[in-house]
Symmetry: D2
């Protein structure tokens, strides 16, 4: 269940056919992409387009990905991603996710991704002040 | 420009980071997936979920893909796909597409895909009657 | 480092351009696909094509994915996946992975995936006897 | 059939599970990626890594993609891509492709992609002299 003590971004979308595999279900790597888009959506709804952070010379590189798959999802299904900041540090943060069916609310996947703030030349850096209010849970 | 004499499905979405490549732009194969999702959307807005057609034992397999790339698109950009039926035959059809920027209306990609109706065992078949009204332009 | 007390499958391949993203590096979800192909390769080199297991009515569905990203990889680079069985149970198993550069041997990604054996109708099942010798580390 | 009057690059690879879709076959967009990798392979076997061209400030952007799908391919199948230069101009070129089964030699897909040479800032440019001998068919 998404937490109630912090901002949670909620995005709705349909499973694309290209995201399925020969088992007839959504391929497990597709969910990793859904999580990424959930982060993008999180930034957008907080008026802080991630594309802007990049323009300012910073990236939140992915240091770790973890996903737990419970119920398979299928083509055409409308899914909801819930995304929130689980842990926040000066040089990085952890996003957590829950991906559920829009009708039954069944949980398909839960997961988290750990990120480190780096400059364009790859040096670890403090998250810029302008992003603290957005990313701090 | 999308035609004015037939149904045109219009879908809005944001470019995902995973869909870009090292040139900093949307990878050309990602647009082929956008076209496919534009077809799915076309069916949905006409109350004819493509998933249903599949359940009834039919597929509209892809026989041909053509795309022309004019302006590169980038991460986070909101794109619009326009999708319509260009040509209709009893055993197949051609969808056409235009993918534009939601703000500037600049055309990024145009294309079309040719499809053949087959049963689950791969035999070419007439498009089921229940789908004629939906797919006929 | 891959273990020395069990079979380790080693596969060589080049990073495809489509697998990179706008940061100029291999997208993190691409490594999840590399891991999957490393499993496929593991089966092939043990003379046990995973496609055969599927034909016999079984799947090793993905229950969990974990990846740790250390050094970014780039387009055209030749990578090596090392893949081995970390843990084996009657109804499931865990594969572990290390993905390194073929020249420098630098480790790009380490990870593991947990799998459960299911029949085509989704019931959890014992891994078939014919696969025990292959999958037991 | 690949032409006999010019260089043809031949690459062998296995279909990855992630490249299939819910029809149980290789997704049509995956073939567009196979074509791209066939171009990369073409450069490599001619001792002209495409990554080098990029380092020198040039890109061969994709202006057009065309693919014709005849026979579906499946997970685990070993495919061969044949790739050659179909047409060559000072500021662009067209690659052609044939993708066949490694055992039966059945043709799965044929296609071509048209490319324009641009500098990093997006200006159309002449293909650098050092690449003429490689890319001229």
């Amino acid at each position: 269940m998404p937490p109630t003590d912090r901002f949670v971004a909620e995005a709705h979308f349909h499973v694309r056919y290209a995201e399925t595999d020969a088992m007839g279900i959504v391929h497990h790597a597709s969910f990793i992409v859904y999580m990424e888009e959930a982060r993008s959506h999180y930034s957008r709804v907080r008026n802080a387009d991630y594309a802007k952070l990049i323009e300012h010379g910073y990236h939140l590189v992915v240091a770790e990905v973890h996903a737990r798959y419970t119920v398979p999802a299928r083509y055409g299904q409308e899914l909801i991603t819930f995304c929130w900041v689980e842990e926040f540090k000066s040089r990085g943060l952890t996003f957590a996710y829950e991906i559920v069916d829009s009708v039954s609310n069944a949980t398909h996947v839960t997961g988290h991704t750990r990120h480190i703030c780096v400059t364009h030349d790859g040096q670890v850096a403090r998250i810029p002040d302008s992003w603290l209010n957005i990313l701090r849970p």
